[in-house]
Amino acid sequence: MKPVIVAHDMVTSYGLGVDTCWRGVTDNRTAIGQVTRFRTEAFQSGCAGIVQGLQYNGDGSLVLQMLRMLFRDAGTAIPADARLLLASTKGEIDLLERFVLEGRGDPEDSTLDRLLTKVEDLCGARGGGMVMSAACTSSSAAAARAASLIKNGRADAVLVVACDSVTEFIFSGFSSLMALDRAPARPFDRSRAGLSVGEAAAYALVMSEERARREGMPVLGEIAGWGLSDDANHMTGPSRESEGLILALKKALASAGVGREQIGFISAHGTGTVYNDAMEMRAFREVFPGAAVPAYSIKGGIGHTMGAAGLVEMIMALRALREGIVPPTVNLTTPDDDAAGWVSDRLRPVSTGMHALVTNAGFSGINSAIVLA
């Protein structure tokens, strides 16, 4: 059974909607700006990719507010028998903040279990739900599992929902790891100095091609293959030899049954940290020796959206495939030497019939590679 995506949506710091995010990225415009919802003087940076209109410590957590926006406007009904995979790193962590700071609420309310129930109620998917958390590969791992369930005939509709938000808990944590750039992130740039945190929520409804046809659902793309791996090296720093991501890339290509020459472009994890971007380029050069493959990162536009990154970036990559356009890498001025010829600050064409590769990496040395068609 071929797993195809029949509906998707997102809210990012560009605003609500896939079109909105696509316009922001292809306009080469950053949505990373000054954080005002908590004080940042003590941290490495004061900027992040913030979704406008959310209320910190308002009616519901930040992620719940984003998810309400998404599902309130869902033009496509989510089938009640769809399985649900919820991907996040810290979910409703702002509820725990409220408990510690003000004694309000129950800290258990911040757990991913409780969020799973809320998401089920919001989206109406009642076919059985699970939480998946794999650091910043959470939603790409969830998408891979959705595709696997469908490919193996264990489900014919799976809803993948991903979310994470910028809270004081998260921001202070990344600052403590010295991971933030004072300026908006500049993936693959020679002068890059770290990442910008961002927030987002997204969903993708994955169906078997057969059910999609039967129900007259549009096919927005296919999850053709995937590869997941771990560096087994260090909790926060990627392996300098890139062997983990290389393994994930090779597994993904084999899983999709495609050769390197069939990859039209790569949506890279591209956080803007010195080590991540170097690790990715080393892996890309190893797996794609010879001619450079067009590659880009959208994290200069919306920041690093953590558990939501994989799904947001997959949806953008599907859009790029449909439009036949490779987006620019937002905030890129001068590519680092190892990325020259691969990344660009311009739009580039991609031939029809090609596949896209989406890579992500996360703490604990986790790597993911997804092939889209």
Binding site: K90, S133, F169, S176, D230, M235, S364
Partner: protein
């Protein structure tokens, strides 16, 4: 392709052991798994004392499972690891944020923050034992093991990894199973995947699961 269970490691608050090897030991350094320190590991674990509780439990459970399955030599392998936990990261979340508040909201500690990710205890085990396969935390509402065994079996069938370790780690108990294609392991297969699934579904608690697998092991007459 037939999937089998090839090793199981377990810890409770009173004892720890391996199922295929029929080993059961009492903690001799004081009550509970903290007394094990790094004696279970093939090479010293530098930061064991700095691991959060769940990381220690996960590493100890995975160490015992790998030992039981005959993977004691320290080398990197295409073995995946998926895990669940009733406790999740709530305790480490509170530890991190309270420490940050106590520091005046100016000093936050990276070594506490890193353990607030639900996948971090698994990450520590992957580093310690050279596990190069897929790695993620997964939980259904009941934090049951059954969906994890399903996932692990599916991933082996998909050839996403040669072997998969699936398990659960909590503050006082841990249980991890090594699964692979029948006949490809380093030890005799303990039981088939359907038998393992039936056991895990019939016994909701770790101690009950240990008892049932131990019974299967005793009937197999392993040396």
């Amino acid at each position: 392709m037939t999937i089998s269970v090839q090793g199981i490691g377990w810890l409770t608050k009173d004892a720890y052991g391996c199922i295929v090897r029929k080993e059961r030991s009492i903690y001799d350094g004081g009550p509970g798994p903290d007394s094990l320190r790094d004696q279970l590991f093939p090479r010293p674990v530098k930061n064991f004392g700095r691991f959060d509780r769940l990381s220690r439990m996960a590493c100890s459970g995975v160490a015992l499972a790998l030992r039981d399955a005959g993977f004691e030599d320290p080398q990197k392998r295409d073995i995946g690891l998926i895990g669940t936990s009733r406790e999740g990261s709530l305790r480490t979340d509170l530890d991190y944020f309270r420490d940050y508040i106590k520091g005046g909201r100016t000093l936050s500690r990276g070594n506490l923050f890193i353990y607030t990710l639900p996948s971090s205890p698994l990450g520590e085990a992957a580093i310690q034992f050279g596990l190069l396969g897929p790695l993620f935390y997964v939980a259904d509402r009941g934090h049951s093991l059954a969906p994890l065994l399903d996932l692990a079996a599916e991933m082996i069938e998909n050839r996403e990894a040669s072997f998969m370790i699936a398990g659960t780690a909590g503050e006082e108990e841990a249980l991890f199973l090594v699964m692979g294609t029948e006949g490809t392991g380093r030890t005799d297969d303990l039981c088939s995947f359907p038998v393992a699934q039936a056991i895990v579904q019939s016994a909701p608690e770790v101690t009950g699961i240990i008892q049932k697998f131990s019974f299967v092991s005793s009937r197999k007459g392993f040396a």
